[in-house]
């Protein structure tokens, strides 16, 4: 019961969604549309669940005075303050001038952007270390990286301006992107698509049921 019904539901819903791709008739398309609407709503509940989980884990850590608990208190405070303000401010919480907007602009956006910007430093240090030409493969990796990198900026164009058009670095970079890069990337796409489809099929048919594991 506890496992069979979910397995049946997954199979029925999954097959139905596949069917709806091929059958435009309303008998299929309307329930399929409804199911997607359901998925959207359940996923939103899941996000709330995640927040609740985070709160619980960190409150427990604070209560147990685990190492670094004052930081976890910062986390909990940040979460609660954001949620309370957002709920109190109501439907228009994102309007200009609200407190939620302030938190979003000054705290959330600036830190996401800063975290992301760390990558600029790492990409340089990885380049310094990682492109050591030891094998043919490594050489191809380094040369392709070098050419495409230079071909993507105006400076590259300036440095090779004297060459005939097809041999300028931006043309070479574009050719690498269009031909060999494209070919290999497409093979990865096709291979991964087969992997996803096979996994999807196994999940839908209940051959893969690990996601339902757990005590009964």
């Amino acid at each position: 019961m506890k496992r069979e019904i979910p397995l049946f539901v997954t199979a029925a819903v999954g097959l139905f969604m596949i069917l709806s791709f091929f059958v435009p008739h309303q008998v299929v398309s309307v329930p399929a549309d409804f199911l997607q609407q359901c998925a959207i709503i359940v996923v939103a509940f899941g996000i709330v669940l995640g927040g609740a989980n985070l709160l619980r884990v960190n409150l427990e850590a604070v209560a147990r005075r685990e190492s670094g608990w004052p930081y976890k208190l910062v986390l909990v405070a940040g979460l609660i303050v954001t949620v309370v303000i957002g709920l109190v401010e109501g439907r228009d919480f994102q309007a200009t001038g609200t407190r939620s907007t302030w938190i979003y602009d000054q705290v959330y956006s600036s830190m996401t952007a800063a975290m992301f910007a760390l990558l600029a430093f790492y990409i340089a240090s990885a380049a310094f270390r990682a492109f050591r030409i030891r094998t043919v493969e490594a050489a191809l990796l380094a040369v392709a990286a070098f050419l495409v990198m230079m071909g993507r900026v105006p400076l590259g164009g300036v440095l090779t301006a004297g060459l005939p058009a097809p041999f300028r670095v931006e043309s070479v970079a574009q050719w690498i992107m269009d031909v060999p890069q494209n070919a290999a990337n497409r093979a990865i796409l096709i291979g991964a698509a087969l992997g996803v489809m096979a996994t999807g099929l196994r999940v839908i048919l209940g051959i893969e049921r690990s996601y339902l594991s757990g005590e009964d």
Partner: protein, 224 residues
């Protein structure tokens, strides 16, 4: 160089938090850990509020309330896109997710999971089948002689690269002999593609840093 530091406390908050994050480049430190934990908390809170108002209220509560207020027809008289009373089903499934917190009935969450997994497994399977499988195969078919040496050569390189890279992903035989040679050629193509991907991405990453510096310079320090 003339500086006009901002008088807006909000800009100061954003700038200082940015610097807290950047301090990680030197090494892990209390400023970074403070910013990091604040970030986790605020982002989780923001996602909750966002999903509450834009999905749970707009797509669930409002139509449900409209369906049962008795003024707008029968509660279950649904039509495409407007499912009225039937929305009780996703509401129930959503609430069942929280059974995870109650040990004894935790298995109830599987029912919601079953619907989500079913919907997405179905969508992904057909989405990948069309977009990444059939469409890519379709896109790979091209004339090998175009009447022009340069483009014909590119077509050959492309086709050979695709076939060899696909053979690299062939798992049922040991890669020896002809298959071994082909898959090694495939690896060469994969490596060029990774190098190109890396080179192409440098721009994205540097862009992010430029964006932050533009903020610190122009908005915070008021550099003109």
């Amino acid at each position: 160089m003339i500086l006009h530091p901002s008088h807006d406390p909000a800009v100061w908050v954003a700038a200082l938090l940015t610097l807290c994050i950047f301090s990680f480049l030197y090494r892990d430190n209390p400023f970074y850990r403070f910013a990091e934990h604040l970030f986790v908390g605020v982002s989780a809170g923001y996602y909750i509020v966002l999903n509450f108002w834009t999905v749970l209220v707009t797509n669930l509560w409002d139509p449900l309330a409209g369906a049962f207020d008795g003024r707008h027809g029968a509660p279950f008289a649904a039509r495409l896109g407007d499912y009225r009373g039937f929305l009780l089903l996703p509401a129930l499934l959503g609430l069942l997710l929280f059974s995870r917190f109650v040990g004894r009935i935790a298995w109830l969450a599987r029912w919601s999971l079953a619907v989500i997994i079913g919907v997405y497994a179905g969508l992904k399977t057909t989405g990948f089948a069309q977009g990444d499988f059939v469409a890519q195969v379709h896109g790979s078919i091209q004339p090998l002689w175009t009447g022009h040496w340069g483009t014909s050569l590119s077509a050959w390189v492309f086709t050979v690269g695709l076939v060899c890279s696909l053979l690299f992903f062939y798992f049922s035989r040991e890669h020896k002999g002809a298959l071994g040679a082909a898959s090694r050629l495939g690896v060469f193509f994969l490596m060029i593609s990774f190098g190109a991907g890396y080179g192409y991405t440098v721009m994205s990453r540097i862009s992010l840093l430029i964006g932050r510096f533009q903020f610190l310079l122009y908005d915070w320090l008021g550099f003109r």
